[in-house]
């Protein structure tokens, strides 16, 4: 039992660390656009994002329930024994963190959420067996939302961008008021930060609750996480957001694509709406992917834009790869536990420590550059190519045609008059 207690503590610490890196990484998603378009001062933006992440974590715990009560079969846990299963959760977390760090170092687009799920699933399959996973639940609450959500967010952002532009479009040359979307972005980006809290902080709560249930410190009938778990996760993600924000601010503005206020507003509304709706139903999404989908969709919503398929393809492959890759790493970590028992756990713990120290050293040594500081979301904007001068709308074409016609008629009239005048003059002479 003492070993089990120790592993629970290790799981909690590692999970909170994961939560911290999640906040550290993802601030850019929520706050990159309003800072870039000049709607918010960087300091204010980061503080706002941290505060709203904290609030968001308290709003809904559906996603956490999906994780603690959905994807793992409880009977299988009972058969396997608490201690083994705790080690499996621990191994899963290590898989997630390792994969996250690898992708971060290699600059691959990735998702911390899918890394977490991948790690847990891979470790459970190795440690407990295939029966340990509720595949229906995994498919319907994790894998399918992962595939569908970025696409639906893109569709919604496309429609929203069209709406925003068509309502504010003017043909008489008077001010169109689109500048006002800068103000709007303060609210929509705040909503994204809030939505981020309702989905991402929950994932860590789910892992901790799962560990507590396994060891018997929480009744499995009780689906809500304990208040201290909610608070710890909310606080950690907010702290990560606050500290991580400064890295992004230093280099923002370099390498971000041309996002106009109206487009940014539409993209953020659709990101926030998609994440909030999914959180309410307990779908565990990758907020990064949803935001990327929205940025691409809203780029396509602007006139004359085309997709750069190569960039889009690279992003898509990154999305698809994360879950199985993290599962493989989680499975490897679990294999150590299965082979060597508690020694395996110790080796895993040392590995985790090495990874965390490496991550820390790397972040200290590495100067913040445009490549590593900008978020995947900003990068996904590159998947859409926008012309400097968009083609005219149909109405603009009609107006121009009518104007050209009127001009031609006027010219013909003037010429006709001049001819008549000349003819008259000729006849008079």
């Amino acid at each position: 039992m003492e070993t089990a207690a120790l592993i629970v503590v290790l799981v909690i610490v590692l999970a909170l660390f994961f939560d911290f890196t999640n906040g550290f990484h993802d601030t850019a998603n929520a706050m990159a656009t309003p800072i870039a378009t000049g709607a918010l001062k960087p300091k204010t933006a980061v503080l706002l994002a941290a505060g709203l992440n904290l609030v968001g974590a308290f709003l809904s715990t559906e996603v956490s329930k999906t994780e603690s009560h959905g994807i793992i079969n409880e009977d299988a846990i009972r058969d396997a024994g608490a201690e083994l299963f705790l080690s499996v959760i621990f191994a899963g977390l290590i898989g997630a963190i390792t994969w996250n760090m690898l992708t971060w170092l290699l600059g691959l687009p990735s998702s911390s959420s899918h890394a977490l799920f991948g790690g847990l699933i891979g470790a459970t399959i190795v440690g407990v067996g295939l029966g340990g996973i509720d595949f229906g639940m995994v498919l319907s609450k994790i894998v399918l939302p992962a595939l569908i959500a970025p696409i639906t967010a893109g569709l919604i952002a496309f429609a929203a961008t069209k709406i925003a532009y068509s309502i504010t479009r003017r043909y008489d040359g008077k001010p169109d008021g689109r500048d006002g979307f800068r103000w709007g972005q303060i609210f929509t980006s705040s909503l994204v930060a809030l939505a981020h809290g309702t989905n991402d902080a929950q994932k860590t709560m789910g892992v901790i609750t799962l560990a507590l249930i396994t060891v018997g410190w929480q009744n499995s009938e009780q689906s809500d996480p304990y208040f201290w778990v909610i608070f710890a996760c909310a606080f950690t993600i907010a702290l990560g957001t606050y500290l991580g924000g400064w890295r992004i601010i230093r280099t923002l503005g370099k390498g971000l694509t041309d996002v106009k206020p109206a487009q940014g507003f539409a993209a953020e509304s659709s990101t926030a709406a998609t994440i909030l709706a999914s959180s309410a139903l307990g779908f565990a999404l990758s907020t990064t992917q949803v935001a990327s989908g929205s940025v691409i969709g809203s780029g396509l919503g602007r006139r004359g834009s085309t997709v750069r398929w190569r960039t889009a393809g690279r992003i898509g492959i990154g999305w698809l790869l994360t879950l199985p890759a993290a599962a493989a790493v989680g499975a490897l970590a679990a294999l150590l536990v299965v082979w060597w028992g508690n020694w395996g756990v110790a080796i895993d713990a040392i590995l985790a420590l090495v990874i965390i120290v490496g991550l820390f050293l790397r972040s200290r040594r590495n100067a913040v550059t445009a490549e590593n500081a900008m978020s995947d979301v900003a990068e996904s904007g590159l998947a859409v190519e926008l012309p400097d001068m968009p083609p005219p709308t149909r109405r603009r074409l009609r107006i121009e045609q009518a104007r050209a016609k009127a001009k031609a008629e006027h010219k013909a009239k003037v010429e006709h008059k001049a001819q008549a005048k000349a003819a008259k003059k000729g006849s008079e002479q």
Binding site: I35, A36, T37, G38, A39, K41, L59, S60, F135, G136, S140, L144, P145, I148, A149, T152, A153, L155, I156, A159, A160, I163, A164, I167, T168, K174, P175, D176, G177, R178, D179, G180, F181, R182, W183, G184, L191, T198, L252, G253, K254, L256, T257, D258, V259, K260, A262, F265, A266, S269, S270, A273, T274, L276, A277, S278, S279, A280, L281, F283
Partner: protein, 111 residues
């Protein structure tokens, strides 16, 4: 092992998100349009952040403000029409805020 997938839930999420995002964007854009109509075109000068992309310079902001003022002077609308447009604009912004608040309330109450 039977795998049951709740497809309806996906449709629900898509519909809810679409309606929510469309409502926010429509009301906000309408509000901006009416604000311009009332002669108060929004000119937002950028915060202290100079090397960001697509941020207008102070000169551009001044020019935009001048243009807005000129357009407002030229606007043939009567004062009453302008006031109605302004009230409409604030109404639209309020509806936008209401849409957000009700969405969040639905999530909090729905759990």
């Amino acid at each position: 092992m039977s795998v049951v997938i709740d497809w309806l839930a996906f449709v629900q999420v898509f519909a809810a998100a679409l309606i929510g995002a469309a409502a926010i964007v429509t009301f906000y854009a309408l509000g901006l349009r009416l604000l311009v109509r009332s002669g108060r075109a929004p000119v937002v000068s950028p915060a202290e952040f100079t090397d960001a992309i697509t941020v207008i310079t102070e000169k551009e902001a001044r020019r935009a403000a001048k243009q807005a003022a000129k357009a407002a002077r030229k606007s043939p609308l009567t004062d009453v029409q302008k006031r109605i447009a302004l009230i409409g604009a604030y109404g639209c912004f309020a509806l936008c805020a209401l849409a957000v608040a009700s969405g969040i309330l639905l999530i909090v109450v729905g759990r």
